[in-house]
């Protein structure tokens, strides 16, 4: 357990790390290298990071496969898009005082995240009574149901709200592609999730992953912690969905959130490392950038992923990073510990 002094140091190191990262992006941007294409990839990496880290809570730390994460992303995306749209319309009709687009976006994120969390609760309570492959298949089912329902909602298609049409793409969504805002939101989300993992909540769910029966015999209300984690994870999928909805294209399609999309995030979690936030972040960035960087590769992307996945399962079932966590603080102080101990490793954005 770190004392106050070490904690303050770690916090400072984390803040400096975040600052340096922001600065690097700023320099890159001011050199004129951040064109729309790069910006797109950047934003894609950001929502992928949130998706993968949040799914990692369920898969890596709670130890259950969920195949419907894209469903929660869809709820977040559509809710936030409709909310920002409604606010925009209200401002236009002068029934509401004008607010800054930034505030509008944040209200959208919050609403999207809360809606996704609510769906997480609705899905989680029945689904988490099951385990293993049954849980996987039931979350897949819920994910598809969410998507099909959205597809059939008139107000979630076309121009949306009152003038919507079921089955169509939702168009005319507000744009919010300020990379600094999105980057900050991403880091805050990851920071919150790391804090969650390194608290009694994280400890509890890892205990449940290790041994369900022993956990309840040690006084843990396993259902409560499982559902809480599921809801928490869905909340962040909602945030990712909100960023996705406002990424700049202005449209949303229900087909963006199929079972295949969920599978893609599962792949990222597994390749990165189940139970490693560092691995989740690295995998999300790598697998978002790689297909763009190598055009030829993009065609064979899923083929390569699937082979990689099988090989990883054969030779390193815990994922490439296992449960390793990168720590800037440790890197700087060279105070490496042999035992892999969550408490004593600090990743960026912690505290």
């Amino acid at each position: 357990m770190d004392n106050q002094k070490v904690r303050t140091k770690k916090l400072l190191v984390s803040l400096v790390g975040v600052g340096v990262l922001m600065l690097a992006v700023f320099i890159f941007d001011s050199l004129g290298m951040m064109d729309n294409y790069i910006r797109g990839i950047f934003i894609q990496s950001c929502f992928a990071i949130i998706m993968v880290t949040s799914l990692n809570l369920v898969m890596g730390y709670l130890g259950q496969i969920a195949l419907g994460h894209a469903g929660f992303m869809a709820v977040g995306a559509y809710t936030s898009a409709l909310v920002t749209k409604a606010i925009g319309l209200a401002i236009k009709a002068e029934t509401m005082a004008p607010i800054s687009p930034m505030l509008q976006f944040f209200i959208g994120i919050l609403c999207g995240a809360l809606a996704a969390a609510l769906f997480g609760l609705i899905v989680g309570i029945p689904a988490l009574r099951l385990r293993g492959d049954y849980l996987a298949i039931i979350t897949l089912g819920f994910g598809e149901i969410i998507r099909v329902v959205i597809q059939n909602l008139p107000f979630a298609g076309g121009k949306g709200l009152a003038s919507g049409q079921a089955g169509q793409a939702l168009i005319g969504i507000m744009r919010m592609n300020d990379i600094y805002v999105i980057m900050l939101v991403t880091m805050v989300c990851v920071g919150i999730m790391i804090a969650f993992v390194r608290s009694k909540f994280g400890r509890a769910i890892m205990a449940i992953r290790d041994d369900d029966i022993a956990s309840s015999s040690t006084g843990l209300n396993t259902t409560y912690y499982k559902v809480l984690t599921f809801v928490f994870s869905a909340f962040f999928a909602g945030v990712a969905g909100a960023i996705y909805a406002h990424r700049g294209l202005g449209t949303l399609q229900h087909s963006d959130f199929t079972f295949l999309k969920s599978t893609e995030y599962v792949i990222m979690v597994v390749l990165g490392g189940m139970g490693s936030m560092t691995g989740a972040v690295v995998a999300a960035i790598t697998l978002s950038v790689l297909p763009e960087a190598l055009r030829a590769f993009s065609e064979y992307r899923m083929l390569v992923y699937s082979v990689m996945l099988i090989l990883v399962m054969m030779f390193r079932p815990t994922g490439l990073f296992g449960s390793y966590e990168f720590s800037l603080y440790q890197l700087l102080t060279k105070r490496r510990k042999k035992a892999v101990e969550p408490e004593q490793t600090a990743a960026k954005g912690d505290n």
């Binding site: 898969m59 039931i138 399962m313």
Partner: protein, 303 residues
Amino acid sequence: MDGLTLFIQQIINGLRVGSVYALIALGYTMVYGIIRLINFAHGDFIMVGAYALFFTVPVMIAAGMPPWLSVFAAILVCATTGVLVEKLAYSPVRAKGNKMTALITAIAMALFLENLAQTLFGANPKQVKTIFDLPQVFGVSGNTVLTIILGVVVMIALSLYVKYTKTGQAMRAVSEDKDASLLMGINVNRTITITFAIGSGLAAIASLMYVAQYNQVTNMMGSMLGLKAFVAAVLGGIGIIPGAMLGGLVIGIVESLSKAYIAPLTGGLITSAFSDAIVFSILIVVLLVKPAGILGKNTGEKV
């Protein structure tokens, strides 16, 4: 068309789709019964079989033989694929990992087959020539009747095989307790391999009936088909051979009826596009209310 005729027509449609689901569900159930793994790639074995038919049917026709004979080629291809998947991927992962890693491997294998097919044959649907030229039976298409008959025959044959042959008994033993079976001198690996071969071979028969009805092959055809068949297997009681058949037919009929009636019944509130959602809702309800499935109590038939 009056209401009753329409209803009967929908039931028949349901039986037609359902019997294909049933054939696929049999494969799921065999594999799940023995290694407790949802073989996500099983749906894609249908696709593999369908491509095999796509390539061999013209050969048969050219050779002047009945086109359906190419099902034997498809069975060979599917069984080989199944055994290879088991030997190269599932078996090594099972030896080291846990349930989760095995399931991820199965998902990865499904993605691999789908994308390999896309790379090899492209993403556009391919047309397959007519396989059967059957007369209608009491107004029901010959294909439908044949599919249902085939389903029942396969189901009975499988049940008898599992019950009375030595390998079938070994399958039941392995499904009960792998370690104990090993101690009793059963060649567990060989038994699992045979199960995969049979389950995947069945997929080829399902491919035949699917292709005979829809005349089309795509690399993604097995994905949703497989999922629904899995729902069918769970509904009937996974690991139970007659359960797969029953589940398949029920899912087919529910799907067909919901497509036809849900919109008028709900005043257009719920449209026919919901039928997939309804199938999954059935799965959810079954898993929560009776996870063992409709025939779940009967453990004697477990493979």
